[in-house]
């Protein structure tokens, strides 16, 4: 039994932590959020130079050969800084699909660009009618000569505005909610018939509505087997959930620690707020729930790193449920215990809270995963 990080992972952790320390105080972040693109090209280059963008790719492709545990190490630190660069979209979501389903030719075309940062991936999986169900897909891909023609609409696609390649789930056979009959396609930015309508999300990140109108792709755009995209999509979603949970745990740590610090500084009734027992107990609860999340994060991540098993799947559902619920509990109480100050954009806690709210909604909220877990 050992929950220690390896030396290599510790180096990675330190390097991300240092990057966050140097580049992500609230003021710098707020400036980046206000830009059109919503993140920094320079930071993105730095991430490439430091090798983070190669993390999940095999060494044969010039990657680091990392697994979910390595991603966890990075995402937790990125969470502590509320980092804006599209690491999650490209290196978690996109790479999770490529790793599992892309053939050698596709990998050797795509991986180098992702690793050096010149390409950015994202995954267009959500549709409005689907709510959180990955298998509810009405976007279609129709055979056309030796290629396909895609039609439909994808919602809330992470960082689609800057992505060079979108991986799109589309129906190639079956009914609207059949798991069978979903296929994954690579669509290049700027393709004829592709429109990307971008907007900020409440956490300062960027998402897009993506419309596909007779978008033509070649046979080589199909990732994995025809009609069998769902298991890949589902496994990528599990990777995504693990990564988001790690990010969330990073956010929660900042929130509970900031609250403990603030209540010791702020005085009312001639006492530091931290003297009041009701607040002490509340902070202890925040801390307890945070530690529980970390435990479940380790459990789910370690199980998933063994393979896409049913056990890992259950742990992922459990984790996403707990992270959603706890994130909001900790966020709400951090705000409450800061009083009026907690309501302002001037303190960082509100920004972490907003990120946790969005994380709950991404890839299924707390209720959704509890039901999946219980099923």
């Amino acid at each position: 039994m050992n929950f220690e990080l390896s030396d290599e992972q510790k180096l990675l952790q330190d390097s991300v932590a240092r990057f966050v320390q140097d580049n992500y105080d609230l003021e710098k972040r707020t400036k980046l959020v206000a830009t059109k693109q919503g993140f920094s090209d320079d930071h993105w280059k730095t991430m490439a130079e430091l090798g983070w963008l190669s993390l999940p790719f095999a060494e044969a492709q010039g990657g680091f050969g990392g697994n979910q545990i390595d991603t966890m190490v990075v995402m937790e630190q990125l969470g502590k800084g509320l980092v804006l660069e599209p690491f999650f979209a490209s290196v978690v979501l996109g790479a999770a699909v490529l790793k599992r389903a892309a053939d050698d030719a596709q990998l050797s075309t795509l991986a180098p660009g992702v690793i050096d940062g010149s390409s950015q991936l994202t995954l267009a999986y959500a549709e409005e009618q689907a709510r959180f169900d990955l298998h509810d897909v009405v976007t279609t891909a129709r055979r056309d000569g030796d290629g396909f023609v895609l039609n439909g609409q994808k919602s809330m696609v992470a960082n689609a505005a800057t992505a060079t390649h979108l991986i799109v789930s589309a129906r190639t056979s079956g009914g609207q909610i059949d798991e069978q009959g979903i296929s994954l396609f690579l669509v290049e930015a700027g393709a004829d018939g592709l429109s990307v309508d971008s907007f900020p999300t409440v956490d300062g990140l960027r998402a897009s509505e993506v419309r596909l109108e007779n978008v033509r792709v070649g046979a080589d755009a199909l990732i994995g087997e025809l009609d069998r995209g769902f298991p890949v999509l589902n496994a990528a979603a599990n990777d995504a959930i693990l990564a988001l949970a790690a990010e969330a745990v990073g956010c929660m740590e900042v929130l509970y620690k900031d609250t403990v610090a603030y209540t010791q500084e702020r005085e009312q009734f001639d006492h530091p707020l931290s003297d009041f027992q009701v607040l002490q107990h509340r902070m202890v609860e925040m801390f307890m729930e945070y530690e529980q999340c970390r435990s479940l994060l380790y459990r789910a991540t370690l199980e998933a790193a063994q393979g896409d098993t049913a056990e890992a799947q259950r742990a992922v559902h459990a984790l996403k449920h707990m992270v959603g619920k706890t994130g909001i509990f900790i966020g709400e109480n951090a705000v409450q215990l800061h009083g009026g100050m907690g309501m302002t954009e001037e303190l960082r806690i509100g920004h972490y809270f907003k990120r946790l709210l969005v994380i709950d909604a991404q890839f299924g909220n707390a209720d959704y995963h509890l039901q999946k877990f219980a099923a």
């Binding site: 907007f199 954009e345 909604a361 909220n365």
Partner: protein, 388 residues
Amino acid sequence: MDIELSAEDLAFRDEVRGFFRDNAYKPGADYNQWRLDWFAKAREKGGWDVPKWPTEFGGPGWTPTQHYIWEQETAVANLPWDLPFGIGMLAPVLMAYGNAEQQERFLPDIRARKVNWCQGYSEPGAGSDLASLKTKAVLSDDGSHYTVNGTKIWTTMAHIADWIFCLTRTDDSGKKQEGITFLLFPMKQEGIEVKPIITLGGAHSVNTVFITDVKVPVENRIGEEGKGWTYAKGLLQHERTGLAGISRSIIALEKLKEQARTVKRGNATLLDDPGFRAKVAELEVDLMAAEYTELRSLASASAGAAPGPESSILKLKGTEIQQRIQKLTVEAGGIYSAAWGGKPVGPSFARGGMAGYLASRAYTIYGGASEVQKDVIAKNVLGIKSSK
């Protein structure tokens, strides 16, 4: 015990509905003109513009049932916007502690909605512990005016307010509740600087107000010097009873159900989803009780009795319920609740859901933070004496 609406009550309800219908805003009309006209017409009805004011100041003298009916109807009708500060907070203080000259000077414009007021209580160092406030007011040697210096924070609508009612310190030699003086002064004058504070929902409603060498004539002091705390405490009572919003929550929950019904889940809707449905049901149960808590409180208040212990829980319960409804609205929107600004995406109700939820977090902070409210109930209602 009896809660059947009498024939007169039903007639009153119809009259209220008719009034709202006849005076509804017509698209394209000048909003401000409509607003002022609306209140003028409500006044002609016999004090409907100031339902909570006592009859000697022009209030309608309604029974508790009529107040309840009004609450219910206003929760669904589209009324002109109104701020609570003048009508609901300052006016009762003026009536109870202001002199005749002050009442004549200020009440008519408050009533006509011609002057907007803001509440200058909280300070950076004085939030829950309001009595520790430090904004200094020094009386001139000739006794004609005070010179005020200090900083107020979280002042809602200070940026549009014409006047402020402000707690100031005139004496710091004794207990901190003593030596507080209640002053009124205009906001649009030299020496007052208003700096916006943007809150989590992205809105600008609160401000920091810097007050530098502002001269306030003694005629603008309410009651006696040093007695401001007593006056303000009465006022806080008025603020809190207005914050429960039970009728509005009942309507909001119905709206939420309608919205959830538009979110398809397979052959059913989100409202059929067991997790979501259970949360809606729990809210409904709580609201059923809270509605009666409010009625009990209304009934005892109108019988002239001191508010019963049940009144003390209304703000806590009411605000917590409002927050839960907001939270469920965000959940109903799913991932679309995350969209911010820009174009509408996903179900139409998802837009604004997140902003509403974030803003609702303040409900358990202002008007007495919940933790402190519970302290007050423990002491005043349960009679628990702290040995500290």
